[in-house]
Symmetry: D3
Subunit: 232 residues, 6 copies
């Protein structure tokens, strides 16, 4: 297969990314029909992250970070770097404080890596949001080819360059370039609906009432008993 | 099998729960003959939790949270909600900020769920102690029947409604309703004994001496050498 | 096999340990030819640990901590206790607040245990750096023999008494007694080189330039494209 | 908690067990409302097992098989021994060729153990169907108390003495004593329905037709295209 | 996102598939630059499988097999069905004997499913090669939309409809439609080279000689010693 | 650390190895005080293996098999090759049909590898007993140094060159060179004792009787009941 590096990706305006970050991963995932969710093996390096930006994708051979070095110069402020390796389960310390410093210098907003990182203490001090599958010292080579800005598989999910990444403590969701507008609309609607539900709960209403579950429960033949002793 | 919801459970007085919380999971587990410990896959969402209360149990089909909604109204202040799913290993975001808000509104003291949660950042901000097997966005249906306040299996351990749950950073222990008094007595005795041991350690005494292990070691034929070079 | 307890181990001077701690696990691991790294299943109990000291080794039967009690009195200030069990994957609460108090009383600098700990909240409050494979209540017996200061396997890596342990948030690295000087020299050189790289990054230079990767990429036949549309 | 050994359990007649074995685990699990399925970590020691019988339950401390020895004499021909340990994830070689010989001598039909076995080669040669969570040599003690024929948790599922166990290559399902008749009826009905479906498939009919899924697909707005090129 | 079903896929002639099957997964994976390998969690249901064919892809929601039913009629003899679910780690019995019978009726050559199967005993008796991530009874719904013949992620690898799947006991490799000719040529060359190596080994030659490793070893400063005692 | 290759290892006479193979891994492990057992992640490639021989050890960098090539020529008929990699959890196809052919040519009796193998179908056809932690295609480099016949860690256990490896379906046990005679004696005694137990079981005796457990059970306060209804 031809290996390549693409220098430019489409980038939505900043307001769109900020709005998706505010809506959050769980809401966007639900709103776009339970699609785009990366596997939970990708964990945040620290708590209380909440970001969104267009994906610069990097595909490496496992244990080799040459293409990550090549990816630095194509990044622009606000980008989210999505790094993946081909096929297997093996984790290495693919990026550490030096590479992350380089990305910060370019203004990237976050790094998603479906593999390992090292220098985790320093990385947390940097404050750049990072999600990874492992924290591990194991070193890498720098002599295997790959791709920058090709379609990639990260966390079992396809990511194409310029897709939006919405990531927070709950998980990471991919919004396809072609779905940005429709996902936004549905997510905003969902959030508005949740706001109303939140108000009902605050007012002391019960979900079994305002969701209409009492009939569902009755129709299923679920019996109510006052006390444990009443069952036999 | 008949599905049902039981409205009331036996609840011990608050002093009993507070005392068990103070004794802690490890001490209670040991005191009652190394029984009642839930599997370690249940992890606290945040650090430094320490609670005890009577269990309201919920049994759902995996990926469906209808019965959790049904459980809200039977909870009373001080209860601990114990949520389980039938049989398999699959994790979903069974509860999020809305359902947890509903439980907080009822005054529950903690939630134990042998499955997944979402909106973890908000849940940590709420401050309600929560133990779960997973943090994951995956959504749920709301159309499958189950039980509230039936016997349940949580973390590989049987929990019956009204059993006491003692949970902290070390783990989660079930005290059976019928064992509350005897477990309390043994746990208090064990804690007192540990206090004395603690004082000995503070005074510079060694466990090999005050536990009488020097003879055990000698009887086993374990040899003491001054230096590594003395062995061959 | 003869079981034994060795009372004394070789200990390097404190400056050596302090210097290795400052260099950090990732740098030392790389500097000594990617050797000595313990398996990542050993996780720190808290964040931002960074220590180094000579290893006092303990080998137990799984689920029995008699030899840990026996190890307390051979520890000296600055030592790192390395506790392992024979062969299997089973985890127990091998040490808790009492045993850790005893080690602190002896002045140990850290504990590495390829098994479980309990009383984790108290242990974090103690502040002593601890790495373990599990946090779990499960109790132990105190009647099985083993070794103190024999060769041990911890995190899949051989540790001999007096080897230096360098441990931080990234992982745990063993420096063999016989390699202390050479590892130090190479690690210092590596750190100096990284410092220069860091300066280049700060100055806005790119790794593809200062590492000379542009030619590597060209020689591999990796093509550069301006935009996604240019590929077919 | 009181420890005990119960000598007798209710046993259905052999025809019932034989019929459930013929229906198989997947069918029975579905027929009784997706309940009773043990966790998939329990794997058969060999292929092509298919059995059913009433459960004799054994609850041990992890790593101790005293109660398994005590269980031998209460077993009767056709029984299935269900062995569990309290709470944790630790596996030991809880039974080997000697204990299994003893059970065979009693006429037991199968053994289900949510822990480890050893002497696996000999056990396969014996031909007795065995499901376990692990094959492992690790030895056991014989000095900890427990229960024979108490309620037990095996594979995350409650088993009570005399419940029917239906087990084959797909999994293990518990039929509660009180549900034997209703589960049988529903499973027979389900099997009959599957037989008809099988005939339709053999006749070349398609599921999208005989299940009526074409309308479901249409209503969901799923589009049909002739070729990949037709999508944009 | 638009959901769709594409009825036709490109299919290479049978000789190409047969030749790839003969070359085997390991050789093809290496020949095409260590790309296309699916994750090892996909395991064959039986031993000694060896197949190749064009991929019909199916993307489902986890726990719902509606789209698998929809996929049956687009399959042609010699196809390999590649079934995936969106995003998470949850396994269900997505296909059993009925659906597999339907696929066999269509003449499919194998099924690859990055999720669970049930009725495994019957499936092995059918003899159709199947790779899956799990054998599990857990049932499914039939009411969630998805895709047939869209790009899919299976075993962490992108599969497009009509890509060739080469699968045997060692693993599963995807050959992209556009790479069929070049991968074939390189794989044949690699196999020929291995044949020569095999002949050398048969003739008693050593790899350190015919690969020229003696100099590599010498240049690395690796020392040869006659006996263990010669090292110090 | 100095890298090296040692050409000769001590080898016991064949009768000793044959006798240990006959005694089996479980018996030897127990006889030598529950020591020497490798971790259960090492699984046999096929069933019904049973071997013993002296260890030729190989230590590689993960993902590089240069030292395995170097090890071929030091092997002698009856040896067992024990291959390990440094430190981490990453698995590659470290050996395939070519390297295994080379070892067979040298007359090795078995291969133990705490990492991955490929060409598994061919390897099973060869019939040489092989235990590995993974079956996986992922390729390797051949340019990293290591050791042949140094102390090694395999399956979490120290193996020194010339130690005896006893391996069968139950697991793999290391008998240290210095313990060969004492382990043999104890294992023979243990096997003899088991033979007597086997005869008792055949004669219909119960373990609770001939092990004297009735008193143990009585002393623990375990109660016997006739029927489930008798407990309250």
């Amino acid at each position: 297969m031809q290996r390549y590096i693409v220098k430019n990706i489409p980038r939505p305006n900043k307001e769109v990314s900020d709005k998706f970050a505010e809506l959050g991963a769980a809401t966007v995932y639900e709103a776009q029909g339970k699609t785009g969710l990366m596997n939970e093996r990708l964990k945040p390096l620290d708590k209380n992250y909440s970001v969104c930006g267009p994906a610069v994708t990097v595909v490496c051979q496992p244990g080799d970070n040459l293409m990550i070095h090549a990816a630095v110069e194509v990044c622009r402020p606000g980008d989210i770097v999505v790094i993946t390796t081909l096929g297997d389960n093996n984790y290495h310390g693919m990026i550490g404080d030096l590479l992350v410093s380089s990305f910060i210098k370019q203004g990237v907003k976050a790094i998603i890596i479906d593999n390992g990182v090292r220098d985790s203490k320093t990385l947390r001090e940097f404050g750049l949001p990072i999600w990874s599958s492992s924290v591990i010292c194991t070193g890498t080579s720098k002599n295997q080819s790959g791709w920058v800005n090709s379609p990639a598989v990260c966390g079992n999910t396809i990511v194409e360059p310029g897709d939006l990444i919405v990531a927070d403590d709950d998980g990471i969701v991919v919004v396809k370039k072609s779905d940005i507008q429709s996902s936004m609309e549905k997510a905003v609607a969902r959030a508005a609906k949740e706001e109303k539900t939140r108000a009902k709960i605050e007012a002391g209403e019960l979900g079994v009432d305002f969701y209409g579950f009492r009939n569902v429960i009755k129709d299923m033949g679920i019996e109510y008993y006052e006390n444990l002793e009443d069952i036999n």
